[in-house]
Symmetry: C2
Subunit: 568 residues, 2 copies
C-alpha cells in the first residue's frame, strides 16, 4: 500500500477536512482567477530558494563537484546542456540529501498567454496555489522551487496544447494527480508548469461484459469503486485513499491486493498519452491481450510523467467476490510470521491479501484505537471465492500457521466483524502517529524474492530496533514487499539523517538479495540514487536513450526517475 494518503489524513485531521482544505484553495484561487490576476500575480512570495541559494546543503556542493568532474571527463554528458531547464537534482548517485535542487528560469510571457488562451478559466499563478502544488504533504523530499504556473485542463486536447506550448518554450511540466506519492514525484524543482489533472475525472465508458472501464486520469480509485459497486465489479488496486488513477499508472502502484490481482502493470489495458510534441498516442486496443507491437502501455506505466501525460486509461476490472473470509494470527517472531506467508504462497492457494505487522505496529494500533491486541508479529489474511472455497482456504492456512508457532488464529465471515478486523490493517499507518504525534514519517518500501523476506525483515528489524527512532514494519508479505515507517522529529537534523541511514540500510540489504529499491512507491527523486546498484548503468543508459528520444527538450517532469549522472 502506498501510505501517503494516510499521512494526508493525519495532517488534515480527517479526510473530509483535507478535501475541504483542497477545495478552499482550489476555488479561492482558480475559479476567481482571471486574466488580470494571471498576468499580475501576487509576487510578494518569491520561490523559496534560488538556484544559488545559501541554504543548499554542503553535501550538495560535494555532489555538484563530482558532477562537474564527470562532465569534464565525459563530454557526452553535456548533450543536455543546451536545455533551458537542465536537470540538476541532487537525488542522484551517492547523494544522501533530501532537498531536490533544480535550475529555474522565468516562464516566458508568451507561454502564459498561450496557457490563458488554451484554458482561460483554469490557469493560476497565485502563490498559495503554486505552493500547495509544489510542496506535497506526503513527501519526505522537498524541492528548492515551486511551479510558476498551475493549469487545470479539462480535456486531452487542452493537455495536448499545453504540452506543445511548453515544449516550444522548453519549460518543464509536472503532471499532478492526487499528490499522494511519497518519493518526490510531484515536486517542481525547476519551477515551470504544473498540470493538475484533477478536473479530468469522468468515467467515459463502462463495459460490464468486458469487465473494463475507460476513465479520465483524475478520478480517484475509491470514487471509481463506488461507481462500480452496483455493477458487481471493482478495480483491485488499493493505495492511499487520495490516489488518482493517472498517478497510480504513473508510479506503477500496487497495494494489498496485488498478491492476487497484480499491480497497475497487470490491470491497465491501454492508455492515451500526450507526448512532448502534443501528439496524443493510443497505446493499445481494448482487447485483453495483444502481441501487436512494442508494449507502450507498460513503458508508460511507471514512467512517472517523464515520457508523457496520461489523459485516458482503460482499466481491467474484477468481479466482486461472492464471499470472503478475513483472518488474523499471532507469532512469537517476525521470522515465523514471514515463513507462514511463504508457506501459504507455496501451497498454491490464491490468497487475496497476506499482510504482516510487526509488534511496534501492533502497539501503535492499540494506542491509536484503544485496542488490546497482543503486541507480537501478526499476520492478516483475506480469502475469497465461493463460500466453500473461502472456508477451505482458511482452514488450510490455519494448519500452516499452527505448524509455524502461530497462535490465536481468528477469522470472520460476518461483514461487520470483517470490517472491524480489517480496519486494524487499514489504519495501521494512521495509527503510527499515535506513537509520536508531532513527528514526521519517512516511509519507504523495498521488495525481495519471497524466500528472502524473513531474513530481510529480521536484519532490518535489528537495525530499526537498535535505532533511537521509532520504526514500524508493515509488509505485503505475499509479494515480498516490505515497508517501514520511520518517525522522526523534523526539527532535529540528526534524526532526519538517522531516518535516511535506516532507509539506506534497508534498501542496500534488499538489493544484496536481488531485490528492488521500491516495490510500489516508485523512484521520484528519493530512489534515484539506488537504481544503478539495482539495474546497472547499461539499463539506466537505455532508459535515458528512451527519455531523450521521446522528450528531446527534457520538459517532462525533469530531474525525476533517471539519475542525473547517467549519460550516453
Amino acid at each position: 500500500m502506498a501510505f501517503s494518503s494516510w499521512f494526508s489524513r493525519l495532517r488534515s485531521s480527517s479526510k473530509p477536512v483535507y478535501n475541504n482544505l483542497r477545495h478552499s484553495f482550489f476555488y479561492k484561487h482558480r475559479t476567481h482567477s482571471n486574466i488580470r490576476e494571471v498576468l499580475n500575480p501576487d509576487k510578494k512570495h518569491a520561490p523559496i530558494l534560488s538556484w544559488a541559494s545559501s541554504l543548499v546543503p554542503v553535501a550538495f556542493a560535494v555532489y555538484a563537484g563530482s558532477l562537474a568532474l564527470e562532465t569534464q571527463n565525459n563530454p557526452s554528458f553535456c548533450d543536455a546542456s543546451n536545455l533551458d531547464h537542465r536537470e540538476v537534482s541532487i537525488g542522484g548517485k551517492g547523494s544522501t540529501d533530501y532537498l531536490v535542487r533544480g535550475s529555474h528560469k522565468d516562464v516566458p510571457q508568451e507561454l502564459i498567454d498561450d496557457l490563458m488562451a488554451i484554458c482561460p478559466e483554469n490557469v493560476t499563478m497565485d502563490y498559495d496555489e503554486r505552493y500547495f502544488h509544489g510542496k506535497p504533504q506526503n513527501s519526505f523530499h522537498k524541492a528548492v522551487n515551486i511551479p510558476d504556473v498551475v493549469v487545470f485542463p479539462r480535456s486531452a486536447d487542452e493537455v495536448s496544447k499545453i504540452v506543445k506550448s511548453c515544449d516550444k518554450h522548453k519549460v518543464p511540466i509536472v503532471p499532478y494527480g492526487g499528490a499522494t506519492s511519497i518519493e518526490g514525484h510531484t515536486l517542481s524543482p525547476n519551477g515551470g508548469v504544473c498540470i493538475d489533472m484533477t478536473l479530468m475525472k469522468s468515467i467515459k465508458s463502462l463495459h460490464v461484459e468486458d469487465m473494463d472501464v475507460v476513465v479520465e486520469p483524475g478520478i480517484g480509485w475509491m470514487e471509481l469503486n463506488e461507481y462500480l459497486e452496483p455493477f458487481g465489479l471493482f478495480f483491485p488496486l488499493d493505495p492511499g485513499p487520495g490516489a488518482t488513477i493517472g498517478g497510480m499508472c504513473a508510479t506503477r502502484c500496487s497495494g494489498s491486493l496485488a498478491v492476487r490481482y497484480g499491480t497497475m502493470r497487470d490491470n491497465v489495458i491501454n492508455l492515451k498519452v500526450v507526448l512532448h510534441n502534443g501528439d496524443i498516442v493510443k497505446t493499445g486496443s481494448r482487447a485483453r491481450k495483444s502481441a501487436a507491437g512494442y508494449d507502450l502501455t507498460r513503458l508508460l506505466i511507471g514512467s512517472e510523467g517523464t515520457l508523457g501525460v496520461i489523459t485516458e486509461v482503460t482499466l481491467r476490472l474484477q468481479r466482486i467476490p461472492q464471499h470472503s473470509v478475513v483472518a488474523m494470527c499471532n507469532f512469537p517472531t517476525i521470522k515465523d510470521a514471514a515463513d507462514v506467508a511463504i508457506a501459504t504462497m507455496l501451497s498454491g492457494i490464491q490468497v487475496s491479501r497476506v499482510e504482516l505487522l510487526d509488534e511496534v505496529q501492533v502497539k501503535a494500533v492499540n494506542l491509536a484505537n484503544g485496542k488490546n491486541l497482543p503486541e507480537v508479529p501478526t499476520l492478516m489474511f483475506e480469502f475469497i471465492g465461493t463460500e466453500a472455497y473461502s472456508r477451505e482456504q482458511t482452514l488450510i492456512v490455519q494448519k500452516i500457521a499452527s505448524e509455524h508457532n502461530g497462535s490465536d488464529f481468528v477469522f470472520a465471515e460476518d461483514p461487520e466483524a470483517k470490517k472491524e478486523l480489517w480496519k486494524i490493517r487499514k489504519e495501521a499507518l494512521w495509527a503510527c502517529f499515535a506513537l509520536e504525534p508531532n513527528f514526521e514519517a519517512m516511509i519507504s518500501d523495498v521488495c525481495v524474492p519471497l524466500s528472502c523476506l524473513a531474513e530481510l525483515i529480521t536484519r532490518s528489524k535489528q537495525e530499526l530496533d537498535a535505532s533511537p527512532l521509532v520504526c514500524t514494519v508493515i509488509a505485503h508479505a505475499g509479494d515480498g514487499n516490505f515497508h517501514t515507517v520511520i518517525l522522526f522529529d523534523p526539527k532535529q537534523e540528526d534524526q532526519r539523517q538517522e531516518a535516511e541511514r535506516l532507509n539506506h540500510f534497508m534498501v542496500h540489504t534488499a538489493l544484496s538479495m536481488e531485490g528492488t529499491c521500491t516495490g510500489e512507491h516508485g523512484v521520484g527523486t528519493g530512489k534515484m540514487k539506488y537504481l544503478e546498484e539495482e539495474l546497472g548503468i547499461e539499463a539506466l543508459m537505455t532508459m535515458k536513450k528512451i527519455k531523450a528520444a521521446l522528450d528531446p527538450n527534457n520538459i517532462m517532469n525533469p530531474g525525476k526517475l533517471i539519475p542525473p549522472h547517467v549519460c550516453f
Copy 2:
C-alpha cells in the same frame, strides 16, 4: 495457442522425426564446419532472389511507387537512407503480399573473420544450413533472401561480441529460436547474420521457494516443464511444442492457460538482453514486483528481436494444481458457445482453460483421430484448485451451459480420461490437415473485448463458410482470442489470395470492435500492415523513435514489426 509447432509436426510426420531432421542439419553442417569451410562456403546456391528480381510481384511495384512518393514528400523518411541494410519489406501499409523483400549486400570478410574468432566452431555459411534458417516451415510468408551466415553462440558474452561486430559493419542480425512463429519473424529478407540461440539452453538456477527459474533463451518450454515437474512447479505458457523461451518472450506469446495465468508479459520477472552496441542490459531485479524505473522487461517482451537479443530470462513459476477437472460441452450455435464462455468469465470463476472449437474443427478431429464426436460447436474447460473447488467450479459452469442450450456436458477427473479428453484440443491443428492433406495452412489470430467474441466469430464464420476454402475456428474464448486455420493449395495462387482475403476480413472485423490484429502470434512481417489502423500513426512513430534510439544502425531484425512507411 501458437499453432506453429503443430504445423512442424505435420511436416515432419512426428516431433521426434522433426527433431532428428533438425539435428541432422545441425550436426551435418555445424559440427563439421571449420575455418576452411566457412571461408570457402559452397557458393553454388545464390540467394533465391536479388534486390531487383523479376519475380517480385506487381503489387510490390505499386507499393514501391507509393513509397517513393512518400519519400519525396517527407524528407524525414530518408533519415534511414544511409543504412546499409535499409528495410524495404513489402509487409507494410496496404500491402497484401506475402513475399518479404529486402536489400542485400555482401557480408564483409572482416565480419566473418570476427565471427570466426568469437565462436570458431559454431559459424557456418553452408547453403543448406542458411536455407534451413531462412525458410521457416511454419511461415505463410516467404523472404527473398536467406541469411548469409549462421552463428550458434554459447554465451551472452559471445552474443555481445557478435552483435557489436555486426553493428560496426552495419550488417543485419536475426535472432533465431525454435522458429515456430508464423508471421515471418525469423525471415532474413536482408540476408545478414542469423543468430541461432538454441545452444544456449541451460537452466542457470531454480529458486523453488521464490517460484522462479533463471534460464538461457534456447530452452524449450516443454523441456523446462519436464525439469520442473519433480519440484511441483510448472511454467504456465503452452504455445507450440518447439517454441523456446527466448522466442516466446520475443513474440509476447500466450496459449490456452493465459486466461488464468496471463501471457509472457505477466510471467517474466526480468531479462538480460544484448543491445546493438554489445551492452548487456539487465532489465530488472528478481523481486516479483518493482516500481524502479521504466519497464524495460515489458518493452523487450514482444519486441521481436528488433531492440535486442535476449540472453537470459527469469520466469515466474506456478505450483502444479492439486487437482483438475476437464469438461466438454456441445452447443447448437457458435454464439451459444461463445456466450457461455463470456458468462463463465463474468461469474468470477477462475477457469484455467476455456477453449472453443467450431463444427469444422470437430469434423477434422473426428477424421484425424477416428472419433465420433457430434460435429457442432464445442467448448472445453479446465478447472483447477483443491478437489472440492475444482468440482464446485465444474458444477457452476455446467449450470451456465445448460442455460445457454448446452448439451452432453461431460467431465473427467481420472488422469487418463482427462488426457484423452484434452488430447482433442491439443491435436486440433494437427487434425486440420486430415481435411486437406496436401494443402498449406494460413493460420491467423485476432483478439477482441470479450463481449464482441460471439459476433466476431459469427461474422467471420459466415465469410469462412461462404469461401471455397476449408477453414476451421479455434478460440481461447476466455480471452476473446480467436484463431482461424485456412487451408489452401499452395500451387493455386487464387487460393492463396483467397486465404489472405479471409484473413483481412477477420482482422478488419476485429479492429472495428476495438480489438487487436494479433492476440498472441505477433506482428513479424505479416501483421505490420494492420498496425496503423489499430494503434494510429502516433503510436507507430513512437515505436520508431524507440527503435531508432536503441538500434541506430537498424541492424536488429530490420523490416519487422514497424511498418516501413512510418517516419518521424
